[in-house]
Symmetry: C2
Subunit: 352 residues, 2 copies
Amino acid sequence: MLQDKNPAKTDLSKLGEFGLIEAITKDVSLKNPSTIKGVGDDAAVMSYQDKLALASTDLLVEGVHFDLAYFPLKHLGYKAAVVNFSDIYAMNGMATQLLNGLAVSNRFPLEAIEEIYEGIKLACRIYDVDLVGGDTTSSRSGLILAPTALGVVPKGKEVYRSGAKPNDLIVVTGDLGAAYMGLLVLQRENEVFKVNPQHQPDLSPYAYVVERQLKPEARRDIIKILDELKVLPTAMIDISDGLSSEIMHITHQSGVGAQIYAEKIPIDPQTVLTAEEFNISELTAALNGGEDYELLFTISQKDYEKIQYRKEFAVIGHITEEPGDFLITQDNQKIALKAQGWNALKNKPSQK
Amino acid sequence: MLQDKNPAKTDLSKLGEFGLIEAITKDVSLKNPSTIKGVGDDAAVMSYQDKLALASTDLLVEGVHFDLAYFPLKHLGYKAAVVNFSDIYAMNGMATQLLNGLAVSNRFPLEAIEEIYEGIKLACRIYDVDLVGGDTTSSRSGLILAPTALGVVPKGKEVYRSGAKPNDLIVVTGDLGAAYMGLLVLQRENEVFKVNPQHQPDLSPYAYVVERQLKPEARRDIIKILDELKVLPTAMIDISDGLSSEIMHITHQSGVGAQIYAEKIPIDPQTVLTAEEFNISELTAALNGGEDYELLFTISQKDYEKIQYRKEFAVIGHITEEPGDFLITQDNQKIALKAQGWNALKNKPSQK
């Protein structure tokens, strides 16, 4: 499934580092007023004035976070950028700049790197982020993307993981578990393809879950909506490792506990159907699957009426004073949550 | 030469990501007033107020930028941090925060990662930089360090590569070529070691050049001295790829040319002796070797008297109105400079 639509191949070693930088950055324009100087000097220069600056870095490693057998390069660049923006939104901020570290094997021609950067630049355009720097180097083996996202948040509006209070409501955006089911579908098709390279997979019944895996979006829209609704969450985190472990991050850092209700967890019908097909519980996908890049946050009960009719949000439980994180099942059993989410030190995609 | 002084080995996959983060960050303290929140949330939070913010990322890739056969892990962490600080100083700023991306094979135990972080944290202490974030993940193959340095510079004091003017003086700090000679020494000893593992290398005649390779320092002191002397360079860059290509970056971006004088280029006696031993010109090491992390800058002639008696600086030439970058040799030949510096897309260390 790796794209091969462009037969022209330019050898990186002939192009050199400066030629490569020129090829990558020739169509980069700067839009954020906070960006003073982008690519082309020793460092990017920003002016954040009285706002707080935010910075986050998340690596994507071949064979650990993705498999090029099913992950198109452009999507990979897009995803690498978006998952880093997501961390900035999770602070209630706006992503404004991106630096991209990239290590590629010499087996990649220029055109492959351009595909990766097409995805990165597309994400930057859609999310109004300026690509201001980075470093491209060769790697003796795999492909590694190491982006760093920068952002801003007005002072006093920053939201940490540590601010959840007893009786606060626990809210998630969108729906959960789809990205993980998409991964399982892609891995299955890839196994079939290895046995029979003539096999043309029909992914249409899985379009939504596959897209959630290959082209995740970060919830910038939610940060704007929360601002319009005048809701300042008490704690917030993005769901990259699965709902369970993210809830536990919030409760651990806030010194509280949580109860969530299985029936309240938003799961798309296609996720449910795909999970059935794979003989796993859709709840497991939502709790432990990860990579949904939705936002999980807590709000004071007094803010409930501001969000109750908004389709973007689902209230899934509440914060408790006593420690301990529990799922209440539909038949009213109380089960302790476990952080079984994505562990990049332990798993490779196929073992997840 | 890889250290093995600690027989205890803790398996990363048993420790898990959270255990690893705890082990790495337990002794991290924050010192910069601009750091509001460090490790432990979705993003680090900084307050730069009316100063400009700087950001830069430089990757270090196993087999491309270093070989673990001769590069101790602690030194590697130190170097990865310092080369990123160097980019901030090259803007005339002060490095204030560091985020560190790290991809490691499962073959590394916890103790190896702790060694890397010991080096990173030592560099942070020495350079007054706060370690505020990062991402640690496994890699299917090599070790990759992807740090991002953040820094600040007062508005109006930022120095770009593009500001050099005709007749400006070209100045370098410290001495050049040593780090490259250190690399050649280490590679030679490593080849001997492969043939005869009982071989105990005597590196004492090469102590300086080897240290320049294994434990480079960034020139924060120079930024403070320039400020005290009230000298604002017209252009500046750090010497990571060799003097030739750095000069060409400045002249290319400033739309000018340069003439430098071979006899003025500062080279340490040990670099000269080692170059003789390796049968290469010490000038080649200085011009094309790279990794010295000295600063190269241009100043207006009116500032000459402010720096002329300072031992930290060597005036090596001047900027010309007509384009073209030339070296004037001791026998008065005029040779065009070529950017033959480090090219991480083309070279591996042993081919450099």
